[in-house]
Amino acid sequence: MALIRDLAVQGAQMCLVVLLAPLVTGLVRKMKARLLRRQGPPILQPYRDLLRLVHKDAVLAEDASWLFRAAPYLIFAATWVAAALVPTFGAGLLFSWSADLIAIVALLGSARFFLALAGMDVGTSFGGIGSSREVMIASLAEPAMIMIIFSLALLARSTQLSTIAEYMLSPRVGLRVTLGLAFFSLMMVGLAENARIPVDNPATHLELTMVHEAMVLEYSGRHLAVIELAGSLKLLLYISLIACLFTPWGLAPAGADWRVDATGTAAYLTKLIVACAALAVFETTIAKMRVFRVPTFLGAALMLGLLGTLLLFVSRGL
């Protein structure tokens, strides 16, 4: 019985993330437009875009290989699996032990690996520029993320997300400098990983500034839809991750009954809306930086993470 319940929670989580992901994108877009005093597209527009795209023919470049066609599905699958393992409304995910936080980040790394390859498959200069910049950004963002994980794991004595979330809910946590450093570092990494301003602009098609969009330039139809969905999923994943790690209030514990799950869901939705609003405000108040300023930005994130970890190594037992 407990197994069926856990399975249901896990299944609900998998469906929830996929269904909510375009909503998050739409919400951010709408809020940003309103902040700029524009009307903006309807919140549900991303869903319509996806529907429209999947029904179109996919146009493939003549030089595209099988990798170009397989990559969107692989990217989507890896992102979806990662997103399904980050607690959203409840911590009692059946398979949460199959991948800890390090593995979740590495899964996103797999997705990025294939995205960068897909960018180079057709042999265009824009694809190359996007891939090359993406791996440069990742080469700093990933170590920063690992350092954040180290900080949290050393505090909670675990790399399992559910255990860390439980630790954050418990009174043992207290106010710690390391947590603050990790929080800021994670925000910076999240912005870079999701190709948001100030690192990349999701709305631009100005060739010289784009990173993510340059890689997916040759995609169309259902392939583009899958990639866009994977992108939205990744944004949702990062918001869930930050919410689960730093604001785990309302997270339903494992084995709770459905009423607790319902409050958990309500809390999660509130957190999502707040996060979208914060993202929108942040993006409208800041300008995109030059590509070669990004390493400084991410280097700062890495150093913050390392500093947080070092503090823990040094202060342990004092």
């Binding site: 996919a58 599905y73 699958a77 593995a103 180290f150 070669f292 070092l310």
Partner: protein, 669 residues
């Protein structure tokens, strides 16, 4: 019993090498020699595997060779049998690949006699049980591989590679000789058994550690002793490069583990600092070198340096934990290192086979001259893609599992009491994470430039798929990589006896954990399940494909490339290997490599192209080796006059030398 059998097999390999000399000009020689090597490797592999898994007691055997008072001692214990598996799995795959790949060889008589001898040398090192036999086998292995490096000696860069390799190998053996001299002590107990029983004084132990790191570290490719490796490994034929990079460096790791963990006695905590620092530096430097290199095989050789660094970090952690008495953590770190030894052997062999296939099909090692090979060489591309994903430590492939274990070991290190370690370990963790992320960039670059995109030259456009043997060898290795990645528990359990032999305990059995997860310490602390991750990815990808194809459209049209409206049919418009690395060069290269870019713009109205030139300095070479070579040259010039003296002066020199030596002896006593 297994030791006698293994020695018989090795004798067979040596005999093969003699046979190869007599067969040298026959066309049948290639399949015969490689086939026989394959068979022998498989026999040795099964002997090693059986001994490792059935947990039988160590068995020794003494041959009446070598030093008269101890003979040539050989012994197989779990650590040797684990490395026997490593050596012979790599050797079997390389021999299989060689049956097909060796046919392209222009001068087989330069490869065939050395090949079985090289295999025999590596096996002998792993089995040797006294210092004399060990050093003799070590030098035999070095010389046989040197013969293979010099197989294509007509190319000037190969001749230079052979020269540098010979120098570094002799220097390394010299360091090991001194290390064993210190270990044996004044009574000359050269048998490992005697060495193990006597613990040297702390000062001598520290000296031995440093000498071993120089001697075996130079063979493994530790920064800053790595300079020969990217020259020598690519110079050999590709399946031999696979052996050198994938297997011979592991024999060097074996030497490090055997001496430091087994023979040297209880460690001191600061040894860990030395090993960790060297490992972290190698990991990052190796991958950065790889990112700025355009030669396919040299990129792979540099990536070997990175992975060796990764393994040394594991070893350093194990030393530090062991010195401080944290047995569980030490066992975890050593298991992670040995797991990575296994993974890197598989992955690097696979990738070198792939580079050999590309070299055979196009005659090119320069990435800038390739492109679009995925269309012409689909099986090679698939196998190399698996290798690239694997070596970038991405799930669900194997290197991720060993990387994950290493990170878990790092997370246990706040327990360490010493401040030096407390500060160093997280920094090394950051370096490892950096090197892993950069490795992904490096292998996106290799695969993207060489296999994807459009063909940049005529050779790449007309490339043909490689031979059947190489394809089977590559796909087989790729399958093993995936298998080790989704079922890491079985590999960890197989490593268990080897760790037990060195440390006295091993990690809890993993293959009996529910759902085949791996749980290094406790379920609540961390767990990873490669199998489920793989199944989930496969299932969700299939579900997405099916859903979209049945519910929406599955129609596909082919059209010219779009490229944001500016398509250009010229393949030269594509990103090159150099331009791909440019952002990373700007971020990391200016400091470590003094990278400098210079743009020459033509005058207005001039139709000449603008040129970008990049200069990189190898800091290690400039700082360490160039002054050394200069000093040696200077001394040689000054001493040159000694060659033109009269006989009287020579006699007086001899006399004074004799008197000085006798005086030294008299004062010493």
């Amino acid at each position: 019993m297994p030791i006698v059998f293994s020695l018989d097999c090795i004798a067979l390999l040596l005999a093969l090498s003699v046979v190869a000399m007599s067969l040298e000009r026959r066309s049948a020689a290639t399949p015969v020699i490689y086939g026989a090597s394959l068979l022998t490797s498989v026999l040795l592999l099964s002997a090693g595997l059986l001994h490792l898994l059935d947990g039988s007691a160590p068995a020794g055997s003494t041959l009446p060779l070598g030093l008269p008072w101890i003979g040539a001692r050989f012994r197989v214990d779990p650590l040797s049998s684990f490395f026997l598996v490593i050596v012979n799995l790599g050797a079997a795959a390389a021999s299989f690949c060689g049956i097909g790949h060796g046919r392209h060889e222009q001068a087989p008589q330069r490869v065939l006699p050395f090949y079985p001898a090289f295999l025999a040398g590596m096996n002998l090192v792993v089995l040797a049980d006294d210092a004399f036999t060990f050093l003799l086998s070590w030098e035999f292995m070095s010389l046989a591989s040197w013969g293979l490096v010099m197989a294509h000696h007509h190319q000037p860069e190969n001749a230079r590679a052979g020269y540098v390799y010979l120098l570094m190998a002799s220097f390394g053996t010299f360091a090991l000789l001194l290390a064993f001299g210190l270990l044996a002590g004044p009574n000359g107990g050269y048998a490992f058994e005697t060495i193990r029983a006597s613990h040297p004084a702390p000062l001598f132990a520290a000296l031995v550690l440093l000498l071993v790191l120089v001697g075996a570290g130079s063979k493994a490719g530790l920064v800053p002793l790595h300079v020969w490796l990217p020259l020598a490994h690519p110079a050999a034929p590709s399946h031999v490069s696979a052996l050198m990079s994938g297997v011979m460096t592991k024999v060097a790791i074996y030497a490090v583990i055997r001496i430091i963990f087994d023979l040297l006695g209880p460690p001191v905590w600061w040894w860990g600092i030395v090993v960790l620092a060297l490992g972290g530096a190698s990991a990052v430097m190796g991958v950065l070198y790889a990112l700025f290199e355009n030669d396919l095989k040299r990129v792979l050789a540099y990536s070997t340096i990175e992975n060796i660094g990764f393994i040394f970090v594991g070893l350093g952690l194990a030393i530090a934990f062991r010195a401080d008495g944290f047995e569980v953590a030490a066992v975890l770190a050593l298991t992670a290192a040995l797991f990575h030894v296994f993974n890197h052997m598989l992955l690097k062999s696979l990738l070198f086979f792939g580079s050999g296939a590309v070299l055979g099909a196009t005659g090119e090692r320069n990435m800038e001259a390739l492109g679009g090979l995925i269309h012409r060489m689909p099986a090679t591309a698939l196998a190399v893609l698996a290798g690239c994903v694997g070596i970038s430590a991405l799930p669900p492939f194997n290197a991720f599992a060993s990387e994950w274990l290493t990170f878990q070991a790092i997370l246990l290190s706040p327990q360490l009491p010493q401040w030096g370690l407390k500060l160093l370990v997280p920094a090394v963790g950051a370096l490892l994470a950096l090197s892993v992320a950069l490795a992904a960039a490096c292998f996106v670059r290799i695969f993207g430039i060489a296999f994807l995109g459009r063909a940049r030259t005529e050779q790449a456009r007309t490339a043909r798929e490689t031979d059947r043997f190489s394809r089977v060898a590559m796909l087989g290795m790729a399958a093993l990589c995936l298998l080790a990645g989704i079922l890491p528990g079985f590999v960890i359990d197989a490593i268990g006896p080897a760790v037990q032999g060195v440390m006295g305990s091993h990690m809890p059995s993993q293959s009996r954990v529910a759902w085949l997860s791996i749980i290094p310490i406790a379920q609540s602390r961390s767990s990873y399940n490669g199998l489920l991750v793989f199944i989930f990815i496969a299932l969700s990808a299939t579900m997405a494909v099916l859903a979209i194809h049945t519910l929406a459209s599955r129609k596909t049209r082919r059209a010219p490339i779009w490229d944001c409206g500016y398509p250009d049919a010229n393949p030269a418009i594509q990103y090159t290997a150099g331009s791909f690395a440019q952002p990373i060069r700007r971020v990391f290269g200016t400091l470590l490599f003094r990278a400098h870019e210079e743009i020459t713009m033509p005058l207005p109205g001039d139709m000449a192209p603008a040129r970008l030139s990049v200069t990189l300095h190898d800091v290690v070479w400039d700082v360490l080796y160039a002054p050394l070579a200069g000093a040696v040259g200077f001394a040689a010039d000054r001493l040159n006059i000694l060659q033109f003296l009269t006989i009287r002066r020579y006699l007086s020199l001899v006399f004074f030398a004799l008197v000085t030596l006798l005086l030294v002896l008299a004062i010493w006593r």
